[in-house]
Symmetry: D2
Subunit: 396 residues, 4 copies
Amino acid sequence: MSFQNPVFIPGPTNIPERLRKACDMPTIDHRSPLFGQILHPAREGVRRVFKSESAEVFIFPSTGTGGWETALTNTLSPGDRVLAARNGMFSHRWIDMCQRHGLDVTVVDTPWGHGIPAERYEEILTADSAHEIKAVLATHNETATGVTSDIAAIRRALDAAAHPAMLFVDGVSSIGSMDFRFDAWGVDVAVTGSQKGFMLPAGLAIVGFSDTAMQATKTATLPRTFFDVHDMAAGYANSAYPYTPAVGLMNGLNDACGMLLSEGLDAVFARHHRIAEGVRAAVGAWGLELCAATPAVYSDTVSAIRTPEGFDATRIVTHAADTYGVAFGVGLGDVAGKVFRIGHLGSLTDVMTLSGLATAEMCMADLGLDIRLGSGVAAAQDYYRAHPALARKDAA
Amino acid sequence: MSFQNPVFIPGPTNIPERLRKACDMPTIDHRSPLFGQILHPAREGVRRVFKSESAEVFIFPSTGTGGWETALTNTLSPGDRVLAARNGMFSHRWIDMCQRHGLDVTVVDTPWGHGIPAERYEEILTADSAHEIKAVLATHNETATGVTSDIAAIRRALDAAAHPAMLFVDGVSSIGSMDFRFDAWGVDVAVTGSQKGFMLPAGLAIVGFSDTAMQATKTATLPRTFFDVHDMAAGYANSAYPYTPAVGLMNGLNDACGMLLSEGLDAVFARHHRIAEGVRAAVGAWGLELCAATPAVYSDTVSAIRTPEGFDATRIVTHAADTYGVAFGVGLGDVAGKVFRIGHLGSLTDVMTLSGLATAEMCMADLGLDIRLGSGVAAAQDYYRAHPALARKDAA
Amino acid sequence: MSFQNPVFIPGPTNIPERLRKACDMPTIDHRSPLFGQILHPAREGVRRVFKSESAEVFIFPSTGTGGWETALTNTLSPGDRVLAARNGMFSHRWIDMCQRHGLDVTVVDTPWGHGIPAERYEEILTADSAHEIKAVLATHNETATGVTSDIAAIRRALDAAAHPAMLFVDGVSSIGSMDFRFDAWGVDVAVTGSQKGFMLPAGLAIVGFSDTAMQATKTATLPRTFFDVHDMAAGYANSAYPYTPAVGLMNGLNDACGMLLSEGLDAVFARHHRIAEGVRAAVGAWGLELCAATPAVYSDTVSAIRTPEGFDATRIVTHAADTYGVAFGVGLGDVAGKVFRIGHLGSLTDVMTLSGLATAEMCMADLGLDIRLGSGVAAAQDYYRAHPALARKDAA
Amino acid sequence: MSFQNPVFIPGPTNIPERLRKACDMPTIDHRSPLFGQILHPAREGVRRVFKSESAEVFIFPSTGTGGWETALTNTLSPGDRVLAARNGMFSHRWIDMCQRHGLDVTVVDTPWGHGIPAERYEEILTADSAHEIKAVLATHNETATGVTSDIAAIRRALDAAAHPAMLFVDGVSSIGSMDFRFDAWGVDVAVTGSQKGFMLPAGLAIVGFSDTAMQATKTATLPRTFFDVHDMAAGYANSAYPYTPAVGLMNGLNDACGMLLSEGLDAVFARHHRIAEGVRAAVGAWGLELCAATPAVYSDTVSAIRTPEGFDATRIVTHAADTYGVAFGVGLGDVAGKVFRIGHLGSLTDVMTLSGLATAEMCMADLGLDIRLGSGVAAAQDYYRAHPALARKDAA
C-alpha cells in the first residue's frame, strides 16, 4: 500500500492537502471563544451545503451511524412505526438499528440495484390513515449498490398521501457531492459524516433537524445522552459542547464547507457527475454493467460494477491492494462477490480517476477477465476531453 | 491565543509532535489489512496501559461520555439499580446519564473536594442483600475538583459486602497518567478518552470490559447500536469496524501507547506526580488552598485552586486567555467561580509548567489578589530542582 | 530535549504553526506559473520589510553566510579595499571571508560589547581621499555579543566624508525584528536569512541590492556562479530560478512577510523591544550584567549575559539542554565561557519568555551561582504587566 | 494545479509522506548533541548510497549547482585546465561555471542525445602528456536529454591514458535512482542534490570527495567560503556546521537514506528501470522517439520525447498544467520545443506512472497529434503486468 496512490473506496475519500492541514491543529481550549469561531461558521457552512435556511445542524464526534442513532433516538419513542425501503447494505443496517431500538419498521424490500419505490411508499402512507407511521426513512445514495434514489419523489409521495410523517434521509454518500435540498424536499432529519463529500477523515456525524423534527424531540422517549440534541443545542448556545469536541476535525469541516461553497455547490455536483460519467464510460468499454439498474439511478459518487457470473469480484479488490497498492470497494451483503466498487467522490482529478481505471484494467486482466487494456482508460479520456472541467479555485 | 503557548486545561492536553504526526495520516482503506496493523496493537497497547491481562478493549469514534454510555447500555437493563457517588461535575453527569437511561440510581452525595466514601458504599452494598444493585460507579479522578478516589478501597467494599455488582470506573482523567489497575482492582468496565493521558486530540472513547461485564452484555436490554460492543467485537474479529473508524486517531493511539509503555507506566505516573507536586508547592507559596480536602485525595492530573471569598475565580481564566493567551480551566457546578483549575497531565515539562505558574501569578496580581510575583514559580523551581526528572526517551 | 519547549537560541527561532504549514508543501513544478505566485509576492514582501521602495531582492537557497558571499562577489574585484569593524564573532567571520576572497580589509578593531565606532569610520573614510575603499561593512546586530550598532550613524559618516563607498549591512539578526531602513540609511547591500526575524527554518539567504550595488555588479570580477545576481535576475524575469528553488521555504517566506506586514513593522519592533526589556529586567534582578556595554547598544533580539569571573558560562547552556531540555546560546570567540546568550527574537510570548528565564534561574542555581529563584521571573513579570502587549492578529 | 496529482518533472520528485514529516521539524538547537544524531548518520547514509567506503561527504544548504561550485572551487586554481563534454543543458551549464571561475575548459561537443564519448576523452587525455588537465567532468545523466553516460568507461579512458586528472561526476539526476559507484569507478568528486533520488524538497547540495580530491583542496586557490569543505569538515568534527544548517532537510536526508538502504540499492535501481521501461513502452506505442539516440544511453530517471517536426513540444507541457493540473518538463536549450520530458525518478508507483501517461495522451490528442488514446497506457500496463514489482517496505 502506498500513501502516494489515490484511494477509490466510497469514503473516506482522498483528503485535500489544505484540509489535512486544517485538521492537524494544536490543542486549543474548547471552552474559549476561539472555539466558537470554528463552531458557528462550521454549522452555518453545513446548513448551506444542506441547502437549508433553517435546519438546526448538530455535529457529533462520531460517524454516520451515530448520526442515524441521533435521528431516531431524539425524535421517536419505543414502538413507534417507521417506513423504510431495503435496497442495499446501508438501508439494511438502518432498519436493523430501528429494530434494535424497539421501533416497528414497515420494510419495503426492493431489489438491490433499484431505487426506493416512491409509489410503494405512497400506497403505504395512504393506507396509514391513522398516521401511525411517524417517520419515513430514505437512503439517498446506497453506497453498496451505487444507486441514487429520488428524494423529491418521496416527498411527493408523502404530500400525495397528506401524511404528516417525518422524512429522514441518509445523505452520507450524497451530501456535498450530489444535489441535496433539505428545505425544498421537506427533509426533517438529514444525516451525513465527515469522510465523504466533506473530504475529511472519519470522526464526525453531521445531522440537520427541521423545526418539525425539533418539535418531535420534546416527546420522544428513546433513551439518549451522548446523541441528545438538546444538550448539544444548549452547548452551542454557549459556543461550547456538552463534552469535549473534536476541534481539529471541526476546523477541517469549517474549511471544507468554505471550499465547497467557494467552488459553488452546483459546480461541485457537476464535477462529480463529470468524473462519474468518465468512470461509466470505462465500464461500458470494458463490456461490463453496473449494479444500478437504470441510468436514472446511477450514482455520481460510487459505481458498483458487476463482474461476469462465476467470477469472485472481491478478488479484484484484494489483488488491487496487494499488487498495485490501490483500494477499491468490495461488494457487500447481497452483492458480495458479484460487484466491485469504484468510489469517485470527494476531491478527484481526471488524472487520479484515470489511474484508478488503469489499475482496475490491470487487475481484471491479471485475474483472467476478458478486458482490453487501455480500453476503459480511452473511453474515459474521450469523455473528459470532450467535457472540459470547470476551473477550480481552492483545490489544493 | 497563541498556538505556541502550552495549554493548562485538564484535557485535551498538549499533543507531542510525534503524536500529531501519527494522527495526520493520509486516507487508507479501513477494510484493508493495513488497518489491522493499527487496530490490534492499539487495542493491545490500551490493555497494557489498563494493567490488564484480559480486558476486552473497545475503541469508539466518540468521547469519554460515549464511553460511559457504552458501559451502561451494554451491561444494564431499564430499571436496573446502580450505586454512585456524586462529588463533582463529572460524577454528577454520569448519574444524570443513568437516570436518562431509566436506571435506578442510589446516589451517595459527597462534599465536592472529597473522595468517594468507600465505607458508605460498603454499608449500602451490605444492606442490599437481594443484590439489586447491578453496578457500582466510581469516578477515579474528579476533573472538576482535582480529587482522586481510592478505587482499591471500593473493590474492598464490594468484597467485604460479598456483593456481585459490577464495578464501573471513570478513568477519563486518570488512565495513562496515574496508577490504574484494571485486573488488581477487579474493575469490570473502565472508561477513558483519547485526549487526556493518551495525549491525543479528542475523538475516541476507550473502554475495557471484564469477562463479567462481557457476560452481562448478553442479557442487557438497554437499546444500543452505535455503542454495541458485540458489533464492535465482530468487526475486530475481521480486523475491521462495524462502521468507519477514525483511522488517524487510532494510529495516534497506537503510537501513544508505545510512548507510554516505552517510558514505563510507573515512570509515567512518577512524572505526573512530580509535576503535580511542583504545582502544589506553588499553590502553597501563593497562600491558597486546593479544592481537594486532604493530601490523600490530591490529584496528580489537575489542581482546582480555591480563590479568596468574594473573588470570582473565573476571571483568572478569562484574563489569562485574553491577556496572556494561556488556557486554564474554570470551576464547574458547585465550585463555579470559587476555583480555577490548572491541568497538569499529559506531556508536560518543568519548563512548560513553570510558564503556566508564572502566568497564573500575573493574572492573580493583575486582578488584585495579594500574590507575590515569582513566589509560586520559586517554590516549584525548588521542588523540581530537588527532585530531578527521570530521563525520558520518546518524548518528542 | 523536548520539542515542546521553546528554544532561546538567537536563531533559528521558534516557528509559528502557520509558517510550519506554509513550508511543508507538496512538490510543485517550479517552472509553472504557480511558482511565480509565490516568488513575486515573497520578493515584494521582503522589500517592504527592508523598508525600501526599490531594492532588488534576491533569495538564494543558502544561509546568511551565503548572503555575505553574494554581497562581496557580485560587487567587488580582487584587491578591492573594504572597511570593516570587528566587534564580535560575526563581524570577524565576515572580515575573514573578505580576506579569503582577496579583498584588502581595513579592520577597525573594537572591544566586544561595543558598537561600531562611526566616528572612526568617518576618520578613515575622510583620509581615503583617493576613494580606494569600495565598500563599508557593518554588522547591524552582533549576535555574539547582543550589541546593536547605529547604521544611520555610519551613513552619516560616509556622507560627512563625502565618500562614495557602498554600505553593506549584515542584518541577519536584526531585519524583521528591529528597525531597519534600507532606503533611509542608504544601504547598498543588506543581508539576512530565513531563520531569524522571518521565523522560518534555515535555508534561505535573503539579500537586497541598491541601484548603486547593481551598477557595481557590472564591473565586479570576483568569480561567482551560484550566487550570481544577474543569473538570478534573469530567472526572476521569467518567474523562475537559474536552478531549483527551495519552494516550500519560499512559500513560508511569503507568508512570513504577510504576518509581519499585517502586524505592522513598528508593532513587530515594539514587540521585540518589550520582550527584550523583560529579559533585561531579569538580568538586572539576578545581579548580572550584559556583555553589551551601554543601554544604547542593547540588542532587542539577543542578550549576552556575563557570568561571574571564574565561572564557565558554557556550563549553563549544557546544563539547560541536559537537565531541562532548553536551548540557550553559548558565548563565542572572545567571550566564550564568559557569557551565555538568551535569544529573544521571532515569535515569542510573555509566557514563553518567562519559561526561559525560569529555566536560566534553575540552571544558575544548580551550578552554584548566587541567584534567588523567581527573582528574574518576577522582574520580567513586573515589566510585562506594566507594559501590556499590543493585540496581535495572525499570531498562530 | 492540484496538489493531489503526482508531478512528472525530472525533479523535484514526489515526496513520500514519511519524508515530508521527517522534514517538517520543530526548531532544535543545531549546536546541541541532538544535531549530531542527525548529521553523522545522514553523512554515513549518503556515503553508502554513493557506494563508497571512504568518501568524505559534505552537505550544504544549497542545490546541485552549489555542489558543482563546491567541486571546482575546493580543488582547482584559476587557469587550471579541465576536460568536459557538452551533450545537454546541464553539462553546458557546468562548463559555463568553469569558465566563469577562470578555468581553461577543453570542451568536447557532443550531439545532444548522445552520451559522453569516452574514446574522445581518452584521446585528449593521452595527448595531454604534460598532465595539464586537472579534472575531467562528466554528467552521469543529462536531465535535459534523458541520456545516461557510461562513467566506468570514462574511468577506463583515464586509466588507459595513465592520466592523473581527477574525475568529477554530476550525479544530480542519477544518484539514488540508478547505479552509481563512487569507489569502483574511481570518482573523485560526486555531486547531487536532495530533490531527485533522495525524494526531498530542494535545498541541499550533497557532495562526496575522494582522498585525492581532499588532497587537492590543500593547494586549490579559487576563492571560497560558503562552499569551503575545510570549514565544513571542521564543523563536522564538532558535530556542527560553520553556519546554520537546514536541520529539517538533513533529518529528511537521513530518513531518505534509511528508506533507500532498507529497500536495497539494487532494488531501488531495478524499480526505476522497471518504471522507465513502462514509459518507454508507451512512447513506442505512441509512435514517437526518444531524444536519447540509442538504448544504451536511455535514462531510467527521465525520458525526453521527440514530437513531430513542426510541432512545438512545449505546448504539451503548458497544456498539461493548464488543463489537467499535471507537470511535465519542457525541452531545454538545443532541444527546446522539440521534446517534452517525463520525469520518472524517485518514489513512483505503476499507478502514478500510468496517470502521467494517460495525461500525456490526452494532451497530445487535444493538440492535434495523431495519438490513439489508451495506447501508451496499454503498452505500459502490459509491461508492468509482465514484470511485477518487488515488494517494497518503507514506501509510505
